[in-house]
Subunit: 380 residues, 2 copies
């Protein structure tokens, strides 16, 4: 129950253990088409260029930036946590300029600040922001931010690593131009693959670049020779066959549940965890309207050695929760309720073991009430 990887369903690990076949085998190529279609479903998009990058989410981020940004470009980066900072690094390593829109960690990106910044930089080409900040648990209003960006003739790059499958995400409706995610959060798949999607506007920009994409491995023009529609399935790199079996199974499971049901399940379980956390007397860092259901940042009670709590939960209760990062380090725990981890027994284990450890350590919390509160919420 950390910030990911989430628990992986046994069906997915079983799929991963299937015999490895060739990356150009017609049977595998058929599976690739299914993966692409199911990723379109997950992203709620018709984008043709919707594929899994053969590396973790950080490479998915890099894929979006190196394909769309060229040296000398101006990119507005909204930062309200760790991953906005990583976006800045990506922009600068391309030789482009990052114009920062800063918000406090734990707050969503402020649309007004973005609008003001875009007025000051009319030559900005791209707006990049994180939909669901894994480092804080805050969700930003992707639809509004995209509208503002487009009003100012900017493309958008959106980090959806933690949102995909866990909360509403409508790539086409919100007109997101480029988006990347990870497999190890709300898809509950093994880590190592990054689904990405580019719309036609973004593809046009990539096709009309003045310079080559600086990464050969991530160059979409080349990758599409293997993954593209009606492509020759020309060898580019050896696809991570077994990891794609796992992603395939995870996406089949998402379809079986239905993506809206998955969003609802994440919300229902978040509300139950919240009921227990608040009954215990603990509180959330992020204001209610912006809270991610799948990533719960809980304030650490005064005087508690937070690392010791995490260590005891892990060794005594076999339960991992996450530490705070950056400006929230030492101030919060991050409790994930992602994908297969988002279920009632995990909520009960988390609340009861956290209560037990905090109580033994003499923290000032209410005991004996958290589980009932969570259970009542679940059955309401």
């Amino acid at each position: 129950m950390g910030p990911g990887p989430s628990d992986v369903h046994p069906r997915i690990t079983a799929a991963m253990a299937r015999p490895t076949i060739g990356h150009l085998d017609p049977v595998f190529v058929g599976m690739m088409d299914q993966v692409k279609e199911m990723l379109q479903y997950a992203f709620a998009t018709q984008n043709t260029l919707t594929i899994p990058v053969s590396a973790p989410g950080s490479a998915g981020m890099e894929s979006c930036f190196v394909n769309l940004v060229e040296p000398g470009d101006k990119v507005v980066v909204c930062q309200n946590g760790v991953f906005g900072g990583r976006m800045k690094e990506n922009v600068e390593r391309i030789g482009a300029t990052a114009i920062m829109v800063e918000d406090e960690w734990g707050k969503p990106v402020d649309p007004n600040k973005l609008e003001e910044t875009l007025k000051s930089f009319p030559d900005a080409k791209i707006v990049a922001f994180v939909h669901a900040e894994t480092s804080t648990g805050a969700q930003s209003d992707a639809k509004t931010l995209c509208e503002i960006a487009h009003k100012h003739d900017c493309l958008t790059i959106v980090d959806a690593v933690t949102s995909l499958g866990g909360s509403e995400l409508l790539v086409d409706d919100w007109e997101i131009d480029a988006i990347y995610s990870g497999t190890q959060k709300c898809l509950s798949c093994t880590p190592g693959i990054s689904p990405v999607s580019f719309n036609d506007r973004a593809v046009e920009v990539i096709k009309n670049r003045h310079t080559k994409v600086q990464s050969w491995f991530l160059d979409t023009n080349l990758v599409m020779g293997y993954w593209g529609p009606n492509a020759a399935r020309a060898y580019h790199h050896t696809a991570p066959i077994n990891a794609l079996y796992a992603l395939h199974e995870a996406l089949v499971m998402l379809q079986e549940e239905g993506i809206k049901n998955s969003w609802q399940r994440h919300m229902d379980n978040h509300l139950a965890l919240r009921a227990g956390i608040e009954a215990m007397g603990l509180s959330f860092v992020v204001d209610e309207p912006h809270r991610l259901p799948q990533l719960n940042s809980v304030t650490i009670p005064d005087g508690v050695d937070e690392a010791q709590v995490r260590s005891r939960l892990l060794t005594e209760f076999n339960l991992e929760i996450g530490a705070g990062l950056g400006s929230l380090a030492g101030k919060v725990w991050r409790i994930g309720l992602m994908g297969h981890s988002s279920r009632a027994e995990n909520i009960f284990l988390c609340l009861s073991s956290l209560e037990a450890v905090l109580n033994e350590m003499g923290a000032d919390i209410n005991t004996g009430v958290a589980l009932s509160a969570a259970q009542k919420q679940l059955s309401s």
Copy 2:
């Protein structure tokens, strides 16, 4: 029996299906140390910076280039197949200059040509070459090429994607400065991970760079915060946990067999396949002293529709062999005997099914003798 991925041993797929734990879990961190040690064994190196890159071999290549090469540098790239061409792309996308040493596809890199080139370009910084060209089946003399490079004060980057575990490779003895490989060839692991190793000289060059590494994902300075010795195991990206379980098991199996025994097995099985191929009247593309035992490029008999042969082998005999690439496209088949694929029953299946299909298609081959020839060689 294509050019990789090779058959994956059931122990390895079983390892891959173990439950996913956190990438910062102390148990996982302990396993990381074992993976690093076993990679040192496989590479025959004491290099501290010996780690698995969380992406396929193409990203391992890119990792070596983007960390060591800076804009404006001159890099001598020896090309005798597909992968030398990819190295050139890597160099140029960094804004550096690639000075090409070209050899015919199917031949090894000519040390004399390298020496002449280095005399003409005394300011070259790096020499890059492919140890085992997967696209042709030719092996180059890595030790000699490294000696020449060092005589001219160049660092070396070596592609060992297909050699690691399959033929002699001594990173420390040969003084290779930077090397990358893949998991899906002679380690017989699932594809998706690229082991790399940098020696102290290379690390020094990385530390003294004037510019940031252009890839955030592949920046060794950052990656080592997670993988480095005595590192804080600071979060950089989410490691592909299950893929690393698989690599761990593959390396345990390599240790159990002993790396020299693994090299010998690859050679013994190559000689058996060769005996059968030659008994059938077919021939090899690569001259004998430079043949890779794990990747056998066999000349296609006149008048044979080579794609149809491969397609029939796959559909009728469940056997994949590889097509030729680049200047060898349509001229050769590439038959892999890598890792777990390198065993007697595969040799027999390959020879007998190839004979059956070629005979039905009316090719001019000797029938009824290949298997006996292979069997005699195996028991000699």
